[in-house]
Symmetry: C2
Subunit: 405 residues, 2 copies
Amino acid sequence: MRIAVLGGDGFVGWPTALHLSDLGHEVHIIDNLSRRWIDTELGVQSLTPMDSIQERCRIWHQETGRRIHFHLLDLATEYERLKLWLGESRPDAVIHFAEQRAAPYSMKTDRHKVYTVNNNTNATHNLLAALVETGIDAHLVHLGTMGVYGYSTVGAPIPEGYLDVVIDTPNGPREQQILYPTRPGSVYHMTKSLDQILFQFYAQNDGLRITDLHQGIVWGTHTDQTRRHEQLINRFDYDGDYGTVLNRFLIQAAIDYPLTVHGTGGQTRAFIHIQDCVRCIELALSDAPKSGERVRIFNQMTETHRVRDLAEMVSGMTGAKIAWLPNPRKEADENDLIVTNDQFLSLGLQPITLAEGLLAEVVDVARKYAHRIDRSRVPAVSAWTKDLAQRVEHDPEGKRLRSVS
Amino acid sequence: MRIAVLGGDGFVGWPTALHLSDLGHEVHIIDNLSRRWIDTELGVQSLTPMDSIQERCRIWHQETGRRIHFHLLDLATEYERLKLWLGESRPDAVIHFAEQRAAPYSMKTDRHKVYTVNNNTNATHNLLAALVETGIDAHLVHLGTMGVYGYSTVGAPIPEGYLDVVIDTPNGPREQQILYPTRPGSVYHMTKSLDQILFQFYAQNDGLRITDLHQGIVWGTHTDQTRRHEQLINRFDYDGDYGTVLNRFLIQAAIDYPLTVHGTGGQTRAFIHIQDCVRCIELALSDAPKSGERVRIFNQMTETHRVRDLAEMVSGMTGAKIAWLPNPRKEADENDLIVTNDQFLSLGLQPITLAEGLLAEVVDVARKYAHRIDRSRVPAVSAWTKDLAQRVEHDPEGKRLRSVS
């Protein structure tokens, strides 16, 4: 297949491009390289030394003989160039990762909120409009998030996208299937909720074939392909905006900083290894919906853990202490999270668990590159509201720890 | 109160600004005048001769001694100027009409789809982000549409915004109130569905106080204020993009063109007179939600009619014939529409009915300005999908009528 990977220079995009190229597909990366610009803006960098996308593609060709084509294009602002490229290249599938993906970054200031909504909504909608306009019947696979549900799941298992409801009508009660209601908890998550409405419309009005992968937190750095050469390595973010909770724990452990848990650490999160992630995208591609079918929604995760349990897992492997801090996010202190992921399991996914893969991250990544860690970048700094901002402002680097255990 | 009317130069915005000014409020119109630019783009004009916004404001002052202040500002692209203006003016209420509001225009070409999503989503989101950033506790009243529900109401009465659902959890079934599910039928309607998600988020995360008015089709031209001077007259659109079904019937009758009904005319639409519309906005303003409250959603309509019944009503008053044409919209031929509007009735709204007000439109508007009608602009021209476009393309001016009765 000819596959376009939009956002193919990013954390999930790059290993996906490698994985699909390795499977023999003709891979085209479309990216505006905004993630690299954000590194520059924030003054942070990937823990792992990351080459330019052009250099990465060159190394991949040198190592495997395969070509990955890179096109510098801004999906959100260059609609006409996007349409031209699609019309000329006519991909069989389009994987859409080209959105600003960090909740804390999206809440940083009003400028970041405005940027995230403008970028993500226009990127997705431009793509949809261009597919209709060029008449390309490509399978669109989008990376969404289970975070769209936010407050709306009230302890119910997170389903794969839909909910059956009963609506009273003058002719008696009538069953209807609706998009599972969303109540996103950040501007970033909100944009993924907006995406769902865009997908619903274009699947219904124009018969676009769309799969929306509601992903959990991705952990892990290496895939079978990134391991092949030092210069193919994936990015590893540990700063307060882009670093996931697990990455921050790994880094904190590597520099003997206490593992910072916000609130009670009772928030349950869903996880998936990057290797499983690229495999899920392969599986989703192999099982495309038909035109006229509703949007397919898969939960792309393999296990759930409470944040404090993760901290204890990392602490157990490394001996690091745990520090308890106020929570800058507006969210419940404790939440259960039950997730359905039957669809990927039935397609043959065999997950890598944290219990078996985490030690490799500690040794092969966190300790190996510990000399590149910028200690000042480790705490989370974006506050969700003005009240929470004030609390965090008085303690920007988490020095006034609530307690250390 | 100091009230900002965003989009205050438009069809509902202008009479709202006059009505609120007449009530003694300090009114500021913020508008990028895009609706006038679209007239230029389409080569159409209001049936009623419409002066510049500056001239309209001058006449209002001359007639009443009251000032309406006009600020040329593009909500969607001038975030920083918007924030500056809000911070300096600190309005008590903000009425937000500043969105592209025609479904056919939003479906015209891919450029129009992209424009509508970009303009409407950024306009709404910029406003929300700026209110949070400036810390202004203004009541935000937004003009939405009942059209967000589209296919999702399955014959059920359209409620005022919310639906109670039962979700199964490990602790047994749990009741939850969700935003009534939407399945919009055009890009325009879709943007109003996106707005709902934006409002939900900002009400929940930042305690913004928001009322969303889900409006039906507005008819009528004059309000108590627009009648005061010829140069205060409201716009009257009759072209295929911006003209509502009723306006097109009125114009067709005035020029002895058959009333063009698309499909079976069995589509039921909800209506409200422009005078009731501005009164509803006054009522909504008087009953602001508290911070932390969910978004208030009112259905802003007063009666429902099938399109063919409207045609017959106009035909009965004018003797015009009725012509049956193919439907360029992707929608069901026949639909019932039962709408709840208890909230406005309980606040004291006394509706003007079509039965009593329609003749005045025929005489005072359609016949009076019949000499200004451009006959070529009367048929609807935007097709919802490529298949439908082909059917319409072969009959661009509706010459090949299916039948005339």
